[in-house]
Symmetry: C2
Subunit: 329 residues, 2 copies
């Protein structure tokens, strides 16, 4: 490029104290105001972190080496950066920010690194998991709106581990999805399938995130749970999970996913249910009534909370595509 | 592991407001107080960043995808995370923190991603670069201490690009190092070699960092420079570079490396020098007197500045292996 086209403020003699404003200046020509704001805050926090801790060269080098290993551990079926975000509570935080929930709607939780896009579409009554060692569990749920009206034709992704605590994608010889399906709620908002009782399991800890957990003397376990993801035009995307109450890891989940409202007690399949759903009487039963919020409800609540949070920053801000940016006019 | 051994505070119902303290709590059993402090500050900044910006799920996902690509772009000879740190000014900041310089000593600058450990040890007078298209440049330097006394036997790594702006490692068919050497200062603190005049060049911008620069409307250029790294027991490690004054990118270096004190004007080889150093009379000449600080000088200055910075945090702190940690006794 022609250097005469360089239209950034002149920089030289950068110091510990003036580097941040200079990086902001050089980034200030970004035409996307939201990206510009995100980078301004990111650079400020990263620099403040280094200044506050007096970050040493050796620590910086070890940190970059760690991030490199995290990136290189990622494959088609393993996302180590999501895992890192999970164990730092960032995933839970972002989900809470992006999907605020009015009272009485179903709370969200972490997506985790094991959702895939290749699960087969299945009818109500499908066998979700074929693991013969799993304890059979009938899952019987409804999807409603905040007024209590059933929502039909919601696309529902469901996924769980086998009885050993492994997802299908963790097996090298996986040929077809198992323990996962894409369901659809019927005209009464009902969806149901034959699963196995979820078990506790460690998140993958043979990589850099596992090494970090060890250094921190943290265990890698997640309490027993089953994942659900809900999607329907007009409704706010819901990523959530149901947790078995009383699990030994209920209050120390490695990825901070547990919420009181998502804890369930397993019931028992009655004689009538057994014949209606073609499962054994007395087998395990998981039921839950999910409540979705509309896009409009979510947007209003998200923007209301964002406005309140921006006020606390003591800076003139405005919303841009629903997200905060500095108001500089 | 036995869940009864879980000795962390009970967590559940985590929210936007309480997640940070809970992550601190779960990390609080880390036996290394420095790592614990680094993670406490890192988690705080990452969470504050998400809260302040109301980071959306889509932005979080794009960010993790970007970091994954950065990690996967790294190879034996390319460190894309260092490059990312460079273009955010973090590398320069960390170097400034870790290697404070008393007045009259040589300032440090960014290492960059192209230093290797396979450069050959060479005698004074070596030909650093064999590129026939380069403009020959005799480099004639001294290394002294802050009292002006020559320092012999300093190990000096030198590296520069060819005349097209590429380092040897950027060529796929590289078989042996070129444009790099490990020198040693003689008993008068002198080291010299036959290089080529440095040229401006873009940092590698065919990867994710290059894409980011493009989004930010930033150019990827570095002004013409030659890298130097100094190592001798008892002296603070010095990573620096000399920049050609008047380069068109002098005040807009993509990686924030330029300092006034590191700008040089090229001279001309005199008749006497030509015969002494066996180069052509009238060819280009680069001279510089580098000044190293002792480990003791650097340590004292680093700790003095760290103490001042800690005071500003309004928190009781102490030094641990020379680096700040909270003082919790």
């Amino acid at each position: 490029m022609d250097p005469s086209e360089v239209k950034i403020p002149e920089m030289k003699d950068l110091t510990i104290d003036n580097i941040t404003e200079n990086v902001h200046a050089i980034n200030s020509q970004c035409p996307d105001p939201r990206l510009k704001y995100l980078l301004e805050r990111l650079v400020t926090h990263v620099h403040d972190f280094a200044r506050e801790t007096r970050l040493s060269f050796a620590e910086w080098e070890a940190g970059l080496q760690f991030l490199t290993q995290v990136g290189q551990t990622c494959t088609e079926v393993r996302q180590e950066f999501i895992l890192l975000s999970d164990i730092f509570g960032l995933s839970l935080l972002v989900d809470s920010i992006d999907h605020p929930k009015p009272k009485n709607s179903t709370e969200g939780t972490v997506l985790g690194p094991f959702h895939t896009h290749d699960a087969h579409a299945e009818e109500n009554g499908t066998v979700l998991h074929h693991d013969p060692d799993g304890t059979p569990c009938l899952v019987l749920c409804t999807v409603k709106d905040t007024d209590g009206k059933p929502i039909p034709n919601v696309k529902i992704d469901v996924w769980e581990t086998d009885s050993k605590g492994f997802y299908d994608v963790q097996y090298e010889n996986r040929t077809t999805p198992d323990g996962r399906a894409v369901m659809e709620s019927d005209s009464d908002g009902i969806f149901w399938f034959k699963a196995i009782v979820p078990v506790e399991y460690p998140i993958p800890h043979d990589g850099p995130v596992g090494k970090l957990l060890k250094l921190l003397k943290r265990h890698p376990y997640r309490p027993s749970h089953m994942h659900f993801m809900f999607e329907k035009k007009g409704y706010d995307h819901l990523v959530t999970a149901l947790y078995l109450r009383g699990d030994p890891y209920e209050t120390s989940d490695a990825v901070f996913g547990v919420k009181d409202s998502l804890l369930v007690d397993l019931g028992t399949v009655s004689k009538d249910q057994a014949s209606e759903y073609e499962v054994k009487e007395g087998s395990k039963l998981m039921t839950y009534d999910f409540v979705l919020v509309t896009d409009t409800e979510a947007k209003e609540l998200r923007e209301k909370i964002a406005m309140e949070a921006m006020k606390a920053q003591g800076r003139k801000m405005k919303l841009y595509n629903g997200l905060p940016i500095p108001d500089v006019d």
